[in-house]
């Protein structure tokens, strides 16, 4: 243990697939309640970095810390499994393709993990499902199977499912990229609401306007390194690096 003082701390993250170095010595601190957006071209390593935080993709070097505990501890397999399962309960994740469980209703999707892992009673589980689905505006579809929901609705249920574990940190990997344009807003609204409640969030996104409007800090990544980092008004309006400027020229439509 060293001086762990930030809520989320990524120290010298390094990741290689064979000879391909996908993350090159990335460090990042996030404070409690902060919202960080990660932007960058396709293949720059955004997802890899995000998925390293809950160890879905293991780093080949470096450390990830959450609230004073190291996530990617070096432990024997069995002990590590126990440790990581406990850590993941505190880290919610939302995927581009929702990954809702198709054999379960919205309600069951939301309460499955809390029931299994926290031993909720039937009543407590029902209350939790209603609470969380209400929050994302999906209470009226509580007993629907995912196949009968639109993309935006699925993603909102997926967010409710992650929130039901009462995570300390939420990770979003292009939560709206797979949605039809007219369904993007309903998901963004939910994320804005979380921002207002001071949920700590790390958001990988292609939506510059949204990133500019909710986040405290923007990280621009390219080819496995953080090229530029700072508050959105700086990174979006007065970027200092050529690579950032070039990327923004291609992707920035409405932010000004």
């Amino acid at each position: 243990m060293t001086d762990q003082s930030h809520f989320v701390e990524i120290r010298h993250a390094q990741k290689s697939y064979g000879t391909l170095e996908v993350l090159k010595d990335i460090s990042l601190n996030v404070e409690r309640g902060q919202i960080v957006a990660i932007i960058g071209p396709s293949g720059s390593g955004k997802s890899t970095l995000l998925r390293a935080i809950n160890d879905l993709d293991s780093l080949t070097g470096g450390e990830v810390w959450l609230d004073g505990v190291q996530v990617n501890k070096d432990l024997p397999h069995r002990q590590y499994e126990k440790h990581i399962n406990a850590m993941r309960q505190d880290i919610g994740m939302v995927f581009q393709h929702f990954n809702l469980f198709p054999h379960l209703t919205a309600r069951e999707n939301v309460v499955m993990a809390p029931k299994m892992l926290k031993g909720l009673s039937k009543e407590a589980a029902d209350k939790l499902a209603e609470e969380q689905l209400e929050k994302v505006g999906m209470l009226d579809r509580i007993d629907y199977y995912p196949s009968r929901l639109s993309g935006g609705q699925k993603q909102r249920v997926a967010i409710a499912r992650a929130l039901a574990m009462k995570p300390k940190l939420m990770l979003f990997d292009e939560a709206t990229s797979a949605l039809d344009p007219e369904l993007v807003d309903e998901v963004n609204m939910v994320m804005k609401k979380l921002a207002e409640e001071h949920m700590t969030m790390i958001i990988v996104t292609h939506e510059m306007d949204f990133a500019a409007s909710v986040c405290d800090r923007v990280l621009f990544m390219d080819q496995g390194v953080v090229v530029e980092e700072g508050p959105p008004e700086i990174v979006f309006r007065k970027p200092t690096k050529d690579r950032t400027r070039e990327f923004l020229r291609k992707h920035l439509a409405g932010v000004a």
């Binding site: 809950n54 399962n85 990954n99 198709p102």
Partner: protein, 215 residues
């Protein structure tokens, strides 16, 4: 065609069909057990188990079931395995069917999108919890039809045990040919009964398949 003769002998064929049905059910049960274990081995984290699973599949799919039966029934006593013909039939065919079912079950499991396991693990479920709460319920639905195909093959394969003199449909037909010299009628009768067994099984599988689909 000697319809009279067929009417006279068919009760004996019904008894034989009952033996075929018992053989099929027991074989299916053993096959499912072996198939489940085989699939678990093939998908294991341990290389040894993966190797054993793969060896099992290629060994039993790569040799004739009839040879496997002969080795077990005729060769068994030489290495201390004493089985009566029915037992040898069930065990031999069951292990053989299990090799095919291993691939069916494994195929259904690996066809589930990997995002499903990731989502489950992200919530904090262990590998095993993710498997039995998220992967298996979905894979099971996908397995019904292909396992139905395995079942169809397995029923037809029970005819092989006539060669080790289990008194099932095929053997019975052969025996009545010996006394009546009417192979056309006798095999036709046996074929009809196989057809009925397979048809009913097929309907049952189709019903089950509809029943388990997600609405």
């Amino acid at each position: 065609m000697d319809i009279d003769l067929m009417m006279r002998v068919y009760p004996f064929f019904l008894d034989a069909a009952w033996v075929t049905i018992q053989l099929s059910l027991l074989t299916a049960l053993l096959g499912l057990t072996c198939g489940t274990l085989g699939a678990a081995a093939r998908l294991s984290r341990l290389a040894v188990l993966r190797f054993l699973g793969a060896a099992y599949v290629s060994l039993f799919r790569g040799t004739p079931a009839l040879i496997q039966l002969f080795i077990l029934y005729f060769g068994g006593p030489q290495i201390g395995i004493q089985l009566d013909a029915f037992e040898a039939g069930v065990i031999g065919l069951g292990i053989n069917a299990g090799a095919y079912m291993t691939e069916t079950i494994r195929g259904a499991i690996i066809s589930i999108d990997k995002g499903q396991r990731e989502a489950a693990r992200t919530l904090g479920l262990s590998q095993w919890q993710a498997t039995y709460k998220v992967i298996l319920p979905q894979a099971a639905r996908l397995m019904v039809r292909p396992l139905g195909v395995n079942m169809n093959m397995l029923i037809k394969a029970t005819a092989l045990v006539a060669a080790i003199s289990v008194v099932e449909l095929t053997y019975t037909a052969q025996r009545y040919i010996g006394s009546t010299y009417k192979p056309f009628e006798m095999f036709l009768l046996a074929g009809l009964l196989y057809m009925i067994i397979i048809y009913v099984t097929g309907r049952a599988v189709a019903w089950l398949d509809r029943k388990v689909q997600i609405t």
